[in-house]
Amino acid sequence: MRRLAPRPALLAASTAAVAVALLPLVYLAVRTAEAGLDRLADELWTERVALLALRSLGLAAVVTVACVVLGVGAAFLVTRTDLPGRRTFAVLAALPLAVPTYIAAFAWVSTVDGLEGFWPAALVLTLCSYPYVFLPVAAALRGADPAQEEVSRSLGRSGWRTFTAVTLRQIRPATAAGALLVALYVLSDFGAVSILRADTFTRAIFIAFDLGFDRTGALVLSSVLVALTVLLLAAETATRRRGARYARLCGARRPPARLRLGAARWPALGALLGVAALALGVPAVSLAQRLVTGVSRPGALTEVAAAAGNSLTASLAGAALTMLLALPLGLLVARAPGVLTTVLDRLAYLAHALPGVVIGLSLIFFGITVAYPLYQTRWLLALAYATLFLPLAVGAVAGAAAQSPPGLEEVARSLGRGPLTVLRTVTLPLTLPGIGAGAALVFLTGMKELPATLLLRPTGTDTLATELWTATSVGAYAAAAPYAALLVAISALPTWLLVARSGLLDKEDRG
């Protein structure tokens, strides 16, 4: 009969966090309403909007399915089989996170002439975003209770049927979370679809805005994108079974048994190598070719160093603000599930799916009319990052909080430790790895963020991403290469932390 005490402070803080995240959405609603119904109808009921919607949804669907297949497959191979070099592959499977989609797209375009359209965009987006499925699923596979699989085997289920009936269900929440992230990421991706000329909503919005100065058109298209996001979130909620929490109540961790691949390990190795070659090899080779020319340009190094410093500070500020907002909401999600919590969680996702362009514009508006002191500062940019990446952080915090069940904290308090000591000695040690992983993810994604940074960076402070964009847009591939290389290198560090914290590198005898 364990009930959670109401947590008004937590609820208030979460509501405030979501309110901040929803600023752009509110701006969108206000601006769209100002346009008037007739104008809206004119803009909405066109063949072009229908085509854009179909293409955007199709791209999201194709990429999500491909990412689930790649992510779950790779996660299973590196966590549950005796695949040779699996720790290396665990790192390789996570590394594409360090390659921004626009860099990957740029690498492919500059390698294969005339590559453009839907399927190339799907390929590039899949290769860049399957780690979003791989990482949580690998963590879930490592953490899942092997006893359930053993029970299934003992009940006469074959290895394959156990995998489908038990293992896949154990990792279902992790897979769903990862897939949702991928789908949302694809819907809001701007860089790759722009470079590969796949006509989706984000590209159309940017074109309408940047070239046509058509604010209303851009906002209407954004509204449709928001509606698509809501649909996606609703579908995910509908398929998620109630009470599907796979908590393990007793016992300590035991590493799962590994499947012996036998001769099958060669095709498995080949598949992982192939994916790694496409996701990492192509950008690496392409960048390496242009890097020499790019670096030998006069003055290149000082420009790059300045941009790198700007990128780092902006991303750090963004990650800090995001974690600050995500902590109460993540704790609420983990500790006090309920209708209100679900609504807040979903609302946070909503902002995440908005294209960076819309976030950027709305915050410019917000800065000019409401918070002028923030305008043209890096804090407005940090706010944009917080809005964009809140769900990443909330998921990480909620997952981390689940590592420290309330029962443990109660025991600690009963042993005479005050709330702060319990926080320091029990809750934080158990949750910090997860929270740290969340912060790393936010930081990394912030480094890669392009459209909002383009719009919100204080005048004169160029980041790696914006310098890269400027150089690419004028066809100066060689000048862009150093920024791209540095971005990839900087992003690789948090990715490495992420992999290390996920336990993928742990020795087998450790739990």
Binding site: M1, L249, G251, G407, V411, L415, L430
Partner: protein, 406 residues
Amino acid sequence: MSEVVLTGVVKRYGAVTALAGVDLTVPSGLLTAVLGPSGCGKTTLLRCLAGFERLDGGEIRIDGAPVAGAGRHVPTHRRRIAVVPQEGALFPHLSVADNVAYGLDRAARRGDRVEEVLTLVGLAGYGDRMPHQLSGGQQQRVAVARALAPRPSVVLLDEPFSALDAGLRAGLRHDVREALRADGATGVLVTHDQGEALSVADRVVVLRAGRVVQAGTPTTVYREPADEWVAGFVGDAVLLPAVVEDGSARTSLGLVPVAGAAPAGPATVLVRPEQVRFTTGSGPVTATVLRHDFHGHDALVGLRLADGTRVTARILDGGPSVPVGTEVGVTVDGTARAFPTPNPSPRPRPHPHPHPHPRDLALSARTKGADAGESGAESARSAGGWDAAAGRAGVRSAGASSAGFS
């Protein structure tokens, strides 16, 4: 070493009243078992004691100082009440020694208290292990050591043995009791297992539907249960309709002396199966052997009396077992306990007890059956129903008694 006193403790969850005014004294230095079926409020009681829940009424005092009650809620960490949860809940990121040292201050950590309590629970030398390297029983021992280490006022044990297998459980609860005693700790053990409560605790408190029904030594609770429900809950019980006159009860088993002062009139009497003796050959009361359940250390023999009433006898030595169908003579050893029938009307109401219990049905049915046997007025009643009811009424085993209370 602390005395804990609860006065009129009330705890509600929305519309559900989990504790409906609990009065209870936990004596210092002893182990008190809180025994009750699932859903009776015993875990809530423990959570209120520990300070995890706020009271809706009443008061809790430790050594005279109020820790919970009217407008007062001393937080858990200032109560010096250590908890051993059902699943152990060891800190997974700490070694065994660090787990045990968790409640100790800096100075005490350097001392030998950690090794001392680990020795008490039989895990000397395990300090460097991680929790996941221990078996379930060992984890539970560490959880007990961790609770004992800071010498708390009270150690609360929340069904700490229920997840373990029977053999391990018996050994562990013995060791845990010895560890508590050796440390002079005051303990509260929450359990639904009457065997556990009776064998381990110095005092047993029986809880039902959020109220204390009885508190006393294990012997008292077993031999002098407060009512028929407690009688059936703490052990096997033969409950018979009877009429009490001059300190004796007239039952289907003959005239049985009644312990204590029982008012004359209709009553239900309790006889424990081990009081029922039988000899081959006939006696004043005869019965037929229906079944023989061998348990190794003893055996339960089901008997049907001449009037159809079923009773159970416990024989220590399963030895020369009596074949099913044998006619035997039955006597009762010692005294019975009589519970006056609350409503002395000739036709008892179907549910004479405020708390629904499967046995209530059986009791009333059997009483009617007995009526039928004597007067023939109810002979039309279906024999099947009669039999089933009587069979159920014969023995109340504690194991099955939780039905209807979950």
